[in-house]
């Protein structure tokens, strides 16, 4: 106690001042905070979505559907190749993740293999001359084509990246407060949007594939035919939300697709005043649109979004410039949404929601309130208790250590922007309550040493020195728990782990060093003969 190293005093003062400095922004109103001089820290606690309200969405990209689609396209490639090269084949099927085909003439098998190796499957990235598929001969004059797993993984990874790009474009256009979009694992996408008031809108904008096609309506079939499922070859039945009919019979061929659109915007119909969506097409699209409208005057075409007709207008004349409008069954909101989707493009791979957590801002504010109340009550109770047990001086010293500890935790959490969640607040209260344990260990050790016959000074010294090992061991156990909570991955629980982790570090620091410095000052000033706690 007599030899108080100067570095300890400096360290304690520094930690206190820094803690105060970084905690301060949380206590100031936003206006004052903004007018602070530039060298002052301005970051406040980074509240988790459960405290400020917001949405957490976890999507998985449907790689199975992606694979099926790719294999289907490849099956058509095989068919076309054999037709071009006049190789007779039967039984071309796509089952169990592989394409299988039987070559009628055994002499043509080598020829068939060579042709397929040239034309089926894309280039394998990073391997010169390598292809995405493995083509092999199977018994019974068959040829088998399978995806090389690495090639498919690469394709899936690319699709995930592209999906993220499209989602980012869509969200940017919605003007939502900077959402956080991140890839997780191989095929997952996490979106965290703080303060989004309408998660359903967010979800409908993000989750839609938004595949747009223009297809001709086949008016030849009667409603009875459609009801009986009699569909002419080359046609398909598509559901509708245009407000006129529940389904349409349309030609399968889609001459115009969403990629040909260059720009979309929302507007109002001059005659009816209802919301519409206007679009412009690129060169190819405009040419095809002009051709179609010229050849089909008086007929209807269907504008189809994700297998659902949104409008099926009658062609009244040639539309040459590649621009037009969709008069669907829109509200202003749904028109705006379609504009966002069309401008951002379609998702290359379909996705589905795996996990969603949405908290309204109202509930978040309630949670902050409850967290603050219980923190204050809990801390006060702890403080009163310590004062009762150890008296004004030693109890008071542990309270100062506790206050420094609290400042440091809040300061570090603000500085590092680690997320504070509702369970995190619970972690904070518990950490602070248990933080006095270090003080208790030190004080009790001092009393033990006094009882063992040491004099005052050496009891106090030994109290610190010997309690230190115990404090270290005891707090390491919390570090382990916190580390494992991180691996659990869920946002609120991670927040709990953060406060536990930082809490342990600041606790060990403040309970040991702050207490030591304060006791040393007291000792020098008062020159006591006995310990007030013994």
């Amino acid at each position: 106690m007599m030899t108080l190293a100067r570095w300890k005093v400096i360290l304690v003062l520094l930690a206190t001042i820094l803690g105060l400095l970084f905690t301060l922004p949380n206590l100031l109103p936003a206006k004052v905070r903004d007018s602070l001089p530039p060298f002052m820290p301005k970051k406040t606690l980074n509240l988790g979505l459960d405290l400020q309200g917001g949405s957490y969405l976890l999507y998985s990209v449907d790689t199975v559907a992606l694979k099926t689609e790719k294999l289907n396209n490849m099956t058509e490639d095989v068919r076309n190749t054999f037709r071009d090269k006049q190789i007779a084949f039967t039984d071309l099927v796509n089952v169990g993740g592989a394409i299988s085909v039987r070559i009628t003439d055994p002499n043509q098998i080598d020829d068939a293999l060579n042709n397929l190796r040239r034309s089926v499957g894309g280039q394998l990235a990073g391997v010169p001359g390598g292809r995405e598929v493995a083509i092999s001969q199977a018994p019974d004059q068959r040829i088998r084509i399978v995806f090389i797993p690495e090639a498919f993984d690469a394709a899936a990874a690319k699709a995930v990246e592209q999906n993220i790009e499209v989602i980012r474009r869509r969200i940017d256009q919605m003007g939502t407060k900077e959402p956080d979009i991140a890839r997780q694992g191989k095929d997952r996408i996490v979106i965290q949007a703080a303060g989004e008031s309408d998660p359903n809108r967010l979800k409908s904008v993000i989750g839609q594939t938004a595949k747009l096609t223009f297809q001709m309506v086949d008016d030849a079939a009667t409603p009875e035919d459609m009801a009986a499922g009699r569909v002419p070859p080359g046609d398909e039945i598509v559901g509708s939300s245009d407000g006129y009919s529940t389904q349409y019979l349309v030609k399968k061929r889609a001459p115009i697709t969403g990629e040909m659109l260059t720009n979309a915007s929302a507007g109002f119909d001059q005659n009816t005043g209802r919301p519409i969506v206007q679009f412009r097409m690129n060169g190819i699209g405009a040419r095809r649109f002009a051709d179609i409208t010229r050849q089909n005057i008086g007929k209807r075409f269907a504008i189809i979004l994700d297998k659902k007709v949104i409008s099926a207008p009658v062609i009244e004349g040639v539309i040459p410039g590649g621009s037009g409008q969709i008069r669907g069954n829109f509200t202003q909101e749904s028109a705006n949404e379609l504009v966002v989707l069309l401008n951002a493009g379609a998702l290359p791979a379909p996705m589905k929601v795996e996990e969603q957590r949405t908290v309204g801002a109202e509930l978040g504010a309630d949670a902050v309130q409850a967290g603050a109340t219980s923190s204050i009550v809990g801390l006060l109770a702890t403080m009163v208790f310590m004062l009762l047990i150890y008296g004004g001086l030693f109890g008071g010293i542990s309270l100062v250590a506790l206050a420094v500890n609290a400042l440091m935790i809040v300061g570090v959490m603000s500085f590092t922007q680690a997320t504070l969640t509702l369970p995190g607040i619970a972690g904070l209260i518990l950490t602070l309550a248990v933080a006095v344990d270090a003080n208790v260990l030190i004080y009790e050790r001092m009393r033990d040493e006094l009882r063992a016959g040491r004099n005052l000074i050496s009891s106090m010294d030994a109290g610190f020195a010997r309690a230190w090992g115990t404090i270290f061991d005891a707090n390491m156990t919390h570090i382990f728990s916190a580390a494992i909570m991180f691996s659990l991955g869920s946002g609120p629980v991670k927040g709990f782990a953060w406060t536990l982790f930082f809490g342990v570090l600041t606790t060990v620091f403040s309970a040991v060093l702050v207490t030591q410095v304060l006791l040393a000052w007291w000792f020098r000033a008062a020159r006591p003969k006995t310990l007030p706690i013994a």
């Binding site: 309204g360 309630d366 156990t477 659990l488």
Partner: protein, 324 residues
Amino acid sequence: MHFWPLIKVLPVRTHFRFVRLAKYFSTLSIIAVIASLVLSLYPFTPPCGGLACGIDFSGGTVLELSTAPKAVDLHKAREALSGLGIGDPQVQGFGSPSSAMVRFQTPAGADANATVTKVQQRLIETLGPVRFVRTDVVGPKVSGELFGKGLLGLGLAILAMLIYIWFRFQLQFGLGAVAALFHDVILTFGMIALFKKYIEFDLRAVAAILTIIGYSMNDTVVVFDRFRENLRKYKRMPLGDVIDMSINEMLTRTIITSLTAVLALVALALFGGPSLFGLSVILLFGIAIGTYSSIYIAAPVILLWGVKRVEEEPEIVTKPATAR
């Protein structure tokens, strides 16, 4: 003045014969552990058995809704949901009379997203203006993963503690500590099962149990630390007496620390709102159990196994050594 500070009033040194009662308490603990295991596992339905599965682990949807200032008509809400073809719909009050919680499973093959929208629309039709303040949807894939991760986390935590104690003390101490941990964790599971009407088993519960593991270890380490020290000081004293002495020496600290934790957690349970209630009750229970197990499980197990006692020269007790 005579009663403050309290520390002066408390007995300086207690002389409870903890070890003598260990037989009875361990029997009691073993019975409690078996009962807890039965409670939390029976009826063996995956994934949570006898515990009330939160949607983190069971998958499904939870909606928290508010019709403030009007009170929620729970009966009407239940009726509205019964005809929707959703799996296992449950409606219960939550917090205040104007709030309710709705839980259901997305039927197999249906789109979770569309189902939520459908349910929300139906509730608005029946109850009038409703605000959905919280929506949680957990798909079957994610819930399976979270469950696996949760159990793995608990297992890893116990293993990490075993290794740490082994490394810092000796293997026998580690085994005692781990026996105490299993005891605490299993009893906590039993408590969650017993109060399954009020407490759900979800990720937060796992986080609470992990915290209990940390706390229980903390307590055990403190007792062990003194135990190790006394073992070196009193080389000839019977093991049981050394244990008794160590526990008695640390008793004041154990009580004070547990009480501060209990005070803070009671504040949390009372003022922390409904979403922190479960977490704080689990922690409260765990801390009580953790304190008990440091005394009656960890130490007796050491007594059972014995320890290596002739490691180093004993310290000379009469002449205090100077501090490190």
